[in-house]
Symmetry: C2
Subunit: 463 residues, 2 copies
C-alpha cells in the first residue's frame, strides 16, 4: 500500500510518537496549577512553545497552540478582523485558499463585512499587484496561503506581505502545507499551521500573532493560551507537534530535494504514459511533494477507487469526489480541467520504487476507467465523419462529470471544421471542463448560453 | 506524592493509554477520504462514537466529538441559542456553573441577549422551582451542571429537565464532573463533557444534541462532526476517550463507594483535627470523590504550597489562588468562607493510606501557615480584654485575604459584648469572608458601608 495523500494528513513521525508517549506521563495535569504535576505540565508546555516558536521564527509569546489548523485559521481571522474593526470591515483572500479561510470570509460577509477574492493564473498563483489593487482604506486584513494544498503552487508571500505592510494592513499566512518544509519568509503579521500535515499528531494547530498586530479574540472569554485558544491544553500532543516540527526541519533540505525529483518524474512522464492528461500547478515554484493532474474522460471517484484497489491512496478535486458535487474551488479558480483529477502528495520518506510502481499502474487504470465509461480511445477529431452536419446538439442533461465531455468528444468529429456542437448539461463540472477540453484539444470554446434546464456550452471545431 | 486534584484533570487511565497507542497507527488519516487509510480511520471514529453514545445513553448521530469540554459548552450554548433565536434571547444558567458556561452567558449578554443566574443554597444546590420561576416566553435555553466542580454538590438535573421540558425549553447539562460516574438521568436536551476528567486524554470533549432539539452551529462552516466541531478529528484521542469511558463506567459502582467512604472521612474528621474549619458542599447529594473545606486565618496560596511541599496536590477557590484575586464564584454564590479553601478531589484508585497521610499532615500544615500569619491560635473572643472600648476600627486597607479576618479576630475581644468592630478593607474576599467568619464564630454581621477606600464591614460582638 502506498499512501500518497500527505497533503491531507501525514502519518505520525517517529519523533512525534516518541514525544507523545513520553509526555503522556508528565503532561496530563493542568498547567495553570501550582502543584508539582501542574508545574511539570507547564514546563513541557513552555518548552514546546519555545521549540515551535524557534522553528517558525517568532517569539514564544507570539505563538499559541490551537486544536487544529482550521481552528487556528478561524480564530486568527476572527481575532484580526475584530482587532481592526475601527479601520473597517474589508477582508482580502485569494480564491484558492483552504476552505477554512473561505468559510471564514463567507461568515464575515454574512455578518455585514465585505470580502475581495484575488484570482489566480492558470498555475494557481496570485500576483502581488492584484493584492495591491484590492487594498482599500477600510481593509482590515488580507490572507494568503504560503502554498496551495491541491496543486502545490507556492505563493509570493514575501511580496504580498510587503505590499500589505506598506498599506498598514496585516497579512495572515496559512502555512499549513509549507511549514514542515521551513519558515515562511517575509514580513507577515499572522501565521497559521496544522501539526498533522508535517507528521505531528492530530489535535494541534499553531496561531502566531506578531507583536504590534491588533488582535481581539472572539468567542467566550477563556484564560488558556493568552485567551486565543479556549479549552484545556492537550500537552502531550503539543509536545509531539513541536518535537516533530524540529525533526522534519532538520531533514527538510535533503528530503525536499529527493521528493522534488520524484514528483518531477510524475510531472514529466504522466503526459507521455496517459493520453489526454493535463498536469496542473506551477512546474517550478511548487512544494516538493505535490503533483496534480487531470485526465479527460475519467470519473474521478472511480479512478480513486481503482487506484486504491491496486494499492495507491490519492485524493481528487473532481466534482464526483466532493459532497457538494462541485469541482474543487482551486481547479475552478485556475480554469483547468477538473475531471479525472488526481493529487499525488508524497509523505517524506516515500521510496522511489513506490513512485515507479504508481507510474507503471496508472496508464492501465485510467484506460480501464475510460473503457468502462465508453470514452473515445484515440483522437476522434482527426477522423473524418461520413456525412458531417454543420451543427449538432448533445443532450447531456442529468449526466454527471465526465459524461458531458465524453459525449462532446464523441461527436465533434461529426461536424465539419467550422461547425459547432452545443452540449446541454446541468452538471456544475461542465462549466469548467468543457472550456478546459477545448484548450487541451485545440478547439474553440464559443461560450455558455442559458438553456431550458442547465446550460448550453457551444464549441466550434477548429481542426 | 498524592495527586488529589482529579476534578481539574485525571491521570490517563490505563485503558486510555492502550487505546491511544493502538490507534496511532490506524487513526491518523482523514476519515472523509475513500482510500484504505481513510476507511480505517472512519471505522475507528464510528466505533468510538457508538461506544461513547452507549455510555452516555444517546444515539450515535446525536453525539459529536469536540476538542475539549470547554469547546463543547461554547458550541453547545451558541448553537442552541441560535437554533431558538426566533423564540427569544433569554438564557438561564445557575450561579455555580463552570466558567465556560458563565463566560458564554456573558458573551450572550454582550451580544444583546439576556441571562438569569439561578442562586444556590448554602450547600451549592439550585432548586427546581427557581428554574420554573425563571422560565419566560422568550427563554431560548437553560443550563445546569450535573454536579459542581468545586464542592461536589449534585444538582437536581432530572427535576429541572422536567420543568424545562414542560415549558418547551431545552436544558443543556454540563456533565463534565459526573459523566465518568454514570449516565445523566432525566429528559435533558443537550449534554457536554470532557474526557480528561474521567481519565481519557486531553483534547476530547463530547457534545450531545438530542434529536428534535433545534440547533444551528455557529462559526465558519465546516463539514466535520455534522458541522458541530470544526477541524480535523483527533481520532486516536477520541478512541482513547471512548474506551476509557466504558472502562470507568464498568468500575464506577465499586469505586464510587470506596471514594465516598474516603471523602466522608475527610468531611467528618477535618473539623476535629483543625480548629476553625468550615466543610462546604452537600454532605449527602455529592460526587464520590470531592470534598471541600475552608480554614479561617489561612492564606490559600501558602497552604497549597505547603501541602505540595509535603506531597499533596490539591486546588483552592481562595482569592489569592486566582489570577483575578477574587474568590471562587461558586463559594461566593454559596455564601461560605473562601479563605484557606482546599478542594480535595480523589482520582479513582486513590489508596486509603494516602488519605490517612493527608489527614495526619493537614493539622500541622494549617497551624504553621496560621502561625506565620500571626493568626489567633485559640478563641480570642472568650478572653476578656483589659479595658474594653465600645467601638473599634481596624484598618486592613491594602491587605489581602486572610489578613482582614485575622485582624478582626484579634480585636473582637477588645470590645465589650454589644460593641462593634469596623473593618476597613478593599480586598474582594473580605465581602465574603467577614460574614462567613461571623456565622462560624457566632458574632453578628451588621453590614457593609462604603468607606473612603474600599468598604467598612461592621461586626457586633455577641459573645
Amino acid at each position: 500500500m502506498s499512501y500518497f495523500d500527505a497533503a491531507s494528513a501525514a502519518p505520525l513521525h517517529p519523533v512525534a510518537r516518541q514525544a507523545l508517549q513520553a509526555s503522556l506521563d508528565e503532561g496530563w495535569a493542568d498547567p495553570a496549577r501550582l502543584y508539582r504535576e501542574g508545574r511539570r505540565a507547564r514546563l513541557l508546555l513552555d518548552a514546546a512553545r519555545e521549540a515551535a516558536a524557534d522553528a517558525v521564527g517568532c517569539r514564544p509569546d507570539e505563538l499559541t497552540f490551537t486544536t487544529s489548523g482550521t481552528r487556528a485559521v478561524h480564530s486568527g481571522i476572527a481575532g484580526a478582523l475584530a482587532g481592526r474593526r475601527r479601520v473597517g470591515g474589508h477582508l482580502i483572500v485569494s480564491a484558492v485558499e483552504h476552505s477554512s479561510v473561505l468559510h471564514s470570509a463567507e461568515l464575515h460577509e454574512a455578518s455585514g463585512g465585505t470580502a475581495t477574492r484575488i484570482p489566480v493564473d492558470r498555475t494557481g498563483r496570485v500576483s502581488p499587484s492584484a493584492y495591491a489593487e484590492a487594498l482599500r482604506a477600510d481593509t482590515a486584513l488580507a490572507c494568503l496561503q504560503s502554498a496551495n494544498h491541491e496543486v502545490g503552487t507556492e505563493q509570493p508571500v514575501a511580496e504580498v506581505a510587503q505590499v500589505c505592510r506598506g498599506a498598514g494592513v496585516p497579512l495572515l499566512v496559512d502555512a499549513a502545507q509549507s511549514l514542515g518544509w521551513g519558515r515562511v519568509e517575509g514580513d507577515w503579521s499572522l501565521l497559521t499551521a496544522s501539526a498533522h500535515k508535517w507528521g505531528g499528531p492530530s489535535g494541534v494547530g499553531l496561531l502566531v500573532v506578531r507583536k504590534g498586530t491588533r488582535f481581539a479574540p472572539q468567542g467566550p472569554a477563556d484564560e488558556r493560551e493568552s485567551g486565543r485558544a479556549a479549552g484545556f491544553e492537550n500537552i502531550p500532543a503539543i509536545v509531539a507537534a513541536a518535537a516533530s516540527l524540529r525533526a522534519v526541519h532538520a531533514e527538510a533540505a535533503r528530503e525536499a530535494a529527493r521528493l522534488r525529483e520524484l514528483t518531477e518524474r510524475i510531472r514529466l512522464r504522466v503526459p507521455g504514459l496517459v493520453p489526454d492528461v493535463e498536469v496542473v500547478g506551477d512546474p517550478v515554484r511548487r512544494l516538493p511533494g505535490i503533483v496534480t493532474f487531470s485526465c479527460l474522460y475519467v470519473d474521478g471517484e472511480t479512478l480513486l477507487h481503482e487506484l486504491d484497489r491496486v494499492g495507491f491512496s490519492v485524493s481528487s478535486g473532481s466534482s464526483c469526489t466532493s459532497s457538494t458535487l462541485t469541482p474543487s474551488h482551486v481547479l475552478k479558480a485556475m480554469g483547468v480541467l477538473s475531471e479525472g483529477n488526481v493529487r499525488v502528495s508524497l509523505p517524506p520518506g516515500t521510496p522511489e520504487d513506490e513512485v515507479e510502481r504508481f507510474l507503471a499502474a496508472l496508464p492501465g487504470t485510467v484506460a480501464a476507467v475510460r473503457e468502462k465509461l465508453g470514452a473515445p480511445t484515440s483522437r476522434p477529431v482527426a477522423e473524418e465523419a461520413a456525412a458531417p452536419v454543420d451543427s449538432l446538439v448533445v443532450d447531456a442533461l442529468g449526466r454527471r462529470c465526465p459524461i458531458p465531455v465524453i459525449e462532446l468528444a464523441k461527436v465533434i468529429g461529426d461536424v465539419p471544421v467550422g461547425g459547432t456542437v452545443r452540449v446541454l448539461a446541468d452538471d456544475e463540472a461542465a462549466r469548467l471542463d468543457i472550456p478546459a477540453w477545448c484548450e487541451m484539444r485545440g478547439q474553440e470554446y464559443v461560450g455558455e448560453e442559458p438553456a431550458d434546464h442547465g446550460s448550453a456550452y457551444v464549441v466550434r471545431r477548429l481542426s
